[in-house]
């Protein structure tokens, strides 16, 4: 069936808004914690809010790490949202050193508390920020950002940020204080959004529609 999106339900956070936004954008949503459904999904979404370690534990408790890897190997589209994006990386320094899914090379670090000029930054970063193409990825064609213009704003809420090992895996970034933070990362079929597209008004809905089309 066309446009079916499987959203992983692993007992973390509120999935209602994510499901509703995908439905609004024309997807048939399958909210699932079934290993077979996840491994064989047409399109997969990994949502999540909260702590990295707890989220990885929940994925393991539900035996979902392997099915996610199996899905990723098919190169079909996978979208990680917020914490779900961070889980795609190798590890996080939140509460010690926790391994992630390792689908995109990189790590998750705390947002620096001050700018280079010593100005204190509010943490968590809560609010709307403009998306800018990262240096090595000036072209957003063929990605979830294909129909999104530069400098459009989307909604963030996070205390940690993703740092990819290979800069060409970063599609877009924001500037928080004077610190650039990754906003969208991508490697082949796998994409991660640090912001919440389901809470980013028409700009976010455009990104979701694009993901459904990929």
């Amino acid at each position: 069936m066309a446009n079916t999106v499987t959203i992983i339900d692993y007992g973390i956070g509120n999935l209602l808004s994510v499901c509703r936004a995908f439905e609004y954008c024309g997807a048939t949503v399958n909210l699932s914690s079934n290993t077979h459904e996840i491994a064989t999904a047409e399109r997969l979404v990994l949502p999540g809010v909260g702590a990295f370690g707890l989220a990885m534990q929940k994925l393991r408790d539900n035996a979902l790490v392997e099915p996610i890897h199996a899905f990723a190997n098919t190169e079909r589209p996978l979208l990680g949202i917020c914490l779900g994006m961070q889980l795609l990386l190798d590890r996080s320094t939140e509460f010690g050193d926790t391994p992630g899914l390792g689908l995109i090379a990189g790590e998750v670090l705390a947002i620096p508390k001050t700018t280079h000029n010593g100005i204190t930054l509010k943490i968590p970063n809560i609010g709307w920020h403009e998306l800018h193409a990262s240096q090595s990825n000036r072209n957003w064609c063929g990605t979830v950002l294909e129909n999104t213009n530069q400098a459009m704003s989307v909604y963030f809420v996070h205390s940690y940020h993703a740092k990819v090992t290979n800069s060409h895996h970063e599609l877009a970034s924001i500037c928080y204080g004077d610190t650039p933070l990754a906003a969208v990362i991508n490697d082949a079929g796998i994409t991660g959004c640090q912001f919440h597209p389901e809470k980013s008004s028409t700009v976010g809905l455009t990104i979701i529609k694009q993901f459904i089309k990929i």
Partner: protein, 254 residues
């Protein structure tokens, strides 16, 4: 500077959007869903729902409005009023709320802040503080919609709330609420400079100049506006236009 968030505040009683002056003398404004949709379409950055009398009855009646918002409105929204425990928070988050604002129950049991932050993350634990001026640059936190004094100094309480795990503070000046004479910038500044979490200024917006005051004098990270929006004395377009011409960075909707 990061974008200053422009938040529509909707105080709810039963099925109605209401608004008072200094949290008293509540008048019915209309259907909250219609107002919420209008603010979303006009480019509000967030919505803030407060069930103004919920803590008096020990319950929150916002489930209808929360459900409507979750189904139809794709920006973040916070729900406050009458939240007493982790179970109440769970119910509201499951119904689609992104954050909860807690005042009375946190004053009665400060560890509730930690419980909520641990269960759901600091990002959804908004400490709501209702402040009344007590002279000499001191404010006291009130509970039960500005009715009950807590004997807590607002600045001290804000710092304690942050250390207990609050991710954000919505700071309402009871004295300025509904007066449209401007925010209490001294209060906002005192709290904002005492904590490193974002502070939402609420209570007193009446004209565009008050936006500059909240940002530059108060150091607010966000402003919540009710009366002036409900009575269409100001629109989000007006605020964005004013902001861009007055050196305040705000989101530019597509």
């Amino acid at each position: 500077m990061t974008n200053i968030r422009l938040i529509a505040r909707l105080d709810i009683k039963g099925p109605n959007l209401i608004k008072g002056v200094q949290l008293e003398g509540l008048r019915i404004i209309g259907d909250p869903n219609a107002f919420a949709m209008r603010y979303y379409q006009e480019g509000a950055d967030e919505l803030l729902y407060m069930d103004s009398v919920a803590s008096l009855y020990g319950r929150n009646n916002l489930s209808d409005v929360v459900r409507y918002t979750a189904q139809n409105i794709f920006i973040p929204f916070t729900v406050g009023g009458g939240i007493r425990n982790v179970g109440d928070v769970d119910t509201l988050l499951r119904a689609g709320a992104d954050k909860v604002a807690i005042n009375t129950a946190a004053i009665q049991r400060p560890m509730l802040i930690t419980d909520v932050a641990k269960h759901f993350g600091s990002q959804c634990m908004v400490l709501s503080i209702e402040a009344k001026h007590k002279g000499n640059g001191h404010w006291e936190a009130y509970s039960d919609n500005g009715r009950e004094p807590s004997h807590k100094d607002v600045v001290h309480w804000a710092k304690q709330g942050e250390s207990l795990g609050a991710g954000e503070i919505v700071l309402t000046s009871v004295d300025c609420d509904g007066m449209r004479k401007g925010f209490n910038t001294e209060l906002i500044h005192a709290v904002s400079s005492a904590v490193t979490i974002p502070v939402i200024a609420s209570g007193g917006f009446g004209e565009l100049k008050h936006l500059s005051d909240a940002v530059f004098k108060g150091n607010a990270d966000a402003v919540a506006i009710a009366t002036a929006l409900h009575y269409q004395q100001v629109s989000f377009n007006d605020m964005r236009h004013y902001a861009t011409t007055h050196n305040i960075t705000v989101r530019q909707p597509s």
